[in-house]
Symmetry: C2
Subunit: 426 residues, 2 copies
């Protein structure tokens, strides 16, 4: 692993995968086919791309029972405990409706209402993560969303991984469809005979899923489009090189385009971590993926000061930031951009991936500059409330009318004036 | 104005203007040109499309002074009072960072941080509304955004409307550029020599602006893409037909594709409003626009019951909802989908457009099902905080490792285990 010059940190920014023009066209075709052919379109794409010839899309109760049989009870219990932690954390995010009043009789406020229906995309194959089910479903449930529909591409034999079904069942989600790709997104957005449309689509997916979500955005809401995973470790001389390296590799194993970076004020630590990464890398099951990630998007930066280190961290705006310094909490005020902040040596990043409670769906590729992890906020909407009294309107009608006329909107002015005029004056 | 059958209400849903393939290509070309040519590209597009030959893009202090001279002081005072109301309302939306602790030493929380830089698009020409400046800038300021850059297309003589400049100056915004269209969006997203890039772009614009925002979404954040304005009035027999009609016309005058709808339990009111709309329409300055809107996207529905009326309202999910019933506040719990809710006869919709305090940037065309008006929330992001103690990790390390291994992510499991292993065991 290489110790690089800070000036080169910009090279870590991965170009956003916007897809090719061909991919976009393919996605538009799929969306169009689903809109016109409905379920028949879904079944035919599922046969074409997933190799699964299905009669119906919905996962049955029998399949759930079979999933439990195929699934170790010990893990089942872990999933339940993780779900409880995630639920507890997200419950703290719940916002209340509010009202405020003035003595002229004005009432202003904000009504918080859950979305009616949400679609959760769960990738298939090796990326069919039960943790992804927990992290996407629970915030919606805590928000009060009444209908949650899950879609996931089946294997060629028509099955869905047991872990995904068990996780869904633990959460009480029973509307699950065996369909993936752009066709699943189109079905959730436009609806078919078997899949009623939803108001928002969340969950990770490949480039076709991402492009389809981008296409239907506006008709329905979507979560942000996630890139490959990343970790930045901010460390001083008190950090343990073995632990730093292990945490970096935990991200590197995700994806060849994952990024793991150490920013440290300690040159000696930098060198030890570089060695340690090589050592631990060699016997990882996913060594090839991790090595590619380390080689292309891995970096170690040694800075002159903690101020400089913090500047680099904020420039990188990482998805995951670990702070392994003497007094990590003291640095919190200076961290401006990070999806999740892990403080201290016992807060290894996988603690957050699976168990602690905060969401693992986090902004990637620098988007922590302007966006946040998935939360309850993304499953509610707010309506503003305005209730003026006669007194309040009387006191302000001339100002409001003047402002409206300034903007050339006479009917706006007349509307407020109408309350104080008789028919003849109108 | 026509009294229609409820079943036809679906006809009011306006197809989303996604732009044509030609428009999209034009926008991609513009974005590309701005990325490669920078300011030169901006200046040449401004000459081409706005007819203004400029030497530099930034509005000068002299231009601000001239704007004040050209602007009536009386309105200046109204803008200041409106700004104060808007600021007061949005301050109630500010969310605090929070921490929660457990007795095993765990600290979890959420850090709320303002975005660094925001770009505000202000349309030119007749739609250059000072109120739009207030509504887009103030929430960002209340959130704590340090840099706010405004862009607006100049007239052919190179000027920007005085009202826009005065409103910006009242708010303390002094970074204003005379550039509009897709080129302005591209500049804000990618940066040029004179315009540094921002993290989020907000504000209304034409189809080119909307398409450009959609293109740069992901690199920067954007607000939702707004459609034409709409109002639904929910009224019973206590409502005043003259006032209902006036409020409906206040939306109809905005745009030929604006929509105004009355949903009422009272057939007599329906008939009186229909007549009243015709009467008031005839002498409106923007009669042609309003008439087109009323004819194509106006409707009156008479329902059997208030329950049915509320169902229609929620199906329409309007941008603005006025409730003119005997006890409007009592209906609030049943209103699920609306951008802003105006309760009672003195809460005419323009009260919210200009003055009361809540934001007038609201979800249109049914998107109130899943989205909210512009608020302070859109100008902050949240980082989750995880700090596990040795005890907390020790108690849970096996569960976390088991979950990671279930998902095939060995390096994740080893990372948490690393805290409790000696070198030789690794």
């Amino acid at each position: 692993m290489k110790i690089k010059r800070i000036e080169d940190s910009v090279s870590l920014r991965r170009s956003l995968d916007q897809g090719t023009e061909e991919q976009r066209k393919a996605v538009l075709e799929v969306i169009d086919a689903v809109r016109t052919k409905g379920d028949a379109g879904l079944l035919s794409y599922t046969e074409k791309w997933d190799g699964a010839k299905l009669d119906s899309l919905r996962v049955t109760k029998e399949e759930i029972i079979q999933a439990y049989e195929a699934f170790p009870t010990s893990i089942n219990v872990v999933i339940q405990e993780a779900a409880a932690n995630i639920r507890e954390y997200h419950e703290k995010q719940v916002k209340q409706s509010w009202l405020s009043t003035k003595e002229d009789g004005t009432i202003l406020g904000q009504k918080v209402t859950a979305l009616d229906a949400v679609g959760v995309y769960v990738p298939g194959g090796k990326a069919a993560y039960p943790s992804s089910v927990l992290m996407n479903v629970i915030p919606a449930q805590v928000a009060g969303v009444e209908r949650i529909a899950m879609v996931t591409p089946p294997a060629a034999d028509g099955t869905v991984p047991a872990g995904v079904l068990v996780a869904a069942d633990i959460l009480g989600v029973d509307e699950i469809y065996k369909v993936g790709g752009a066709q699943a997104v189109a079905a959730l957005a436009y609806g078919t005979d078997s899949i009623k449309p939803v108001d928002k689509i969340v969950g990770p997916g490949n480039i076709f899923v991402a492009l389809a979500k981008k296409e239907v955005y506006g008709l329905v809401d979507i979560d942000s489009i996630a890139g490959p995973s990343e970790i930045v470790v901010l460390a001083d001389e008190t950090a343990n090189a073995l632990e730093v390296a292990a945490d970096m590799l935990s991200q590197a194993e995700h994806d060849e385009r994952a990024s793991c970076v150490l920013v440290t004020t300690c040159g000696e630590l930098a060198e030890r971590v570089a060695l340690e990464v090589e050592k631990q890398l060699s016997d990882l099951p996913r060594v090839e993926i991790a090595r590619a990630s380390i080689n292309e998007f891995g970096a170690i930066y040694v800075t002159e000061s903690m101020e400089e280190a913090l500047r680099v961290v904020n420039e990188l705006a990482p998805e995951h930031l670990e702070v392994m310094t003497k007094e990590p909490m003291n640095l919190l005020p200076y961290i401006k951009h990070a999806g999740a902040i892990f403080l201290g040596r016992y807060s290894s990043e996988p603690v957050g991936d699976y168990f602690a409670g905060p969401n693992h769906v986090l902004p990637t590729n620098g988007t922590a500059r302007f966006s946040s992890g998935l939360s309850v906020d993304e499953f509610v909407k707010k309506s503003s409330i305005i209730m003026y009294s006669q007194q309040a309107l009387e006191d302000n009608v001339d100002k409001i009318a003047a402002f409206a006329r300034l903007e050339g909107l006479e009917a706006h002015a007349r509307a407020v004036e109408a309350r104080f005029k008789k028919r003849g004056e109108f």
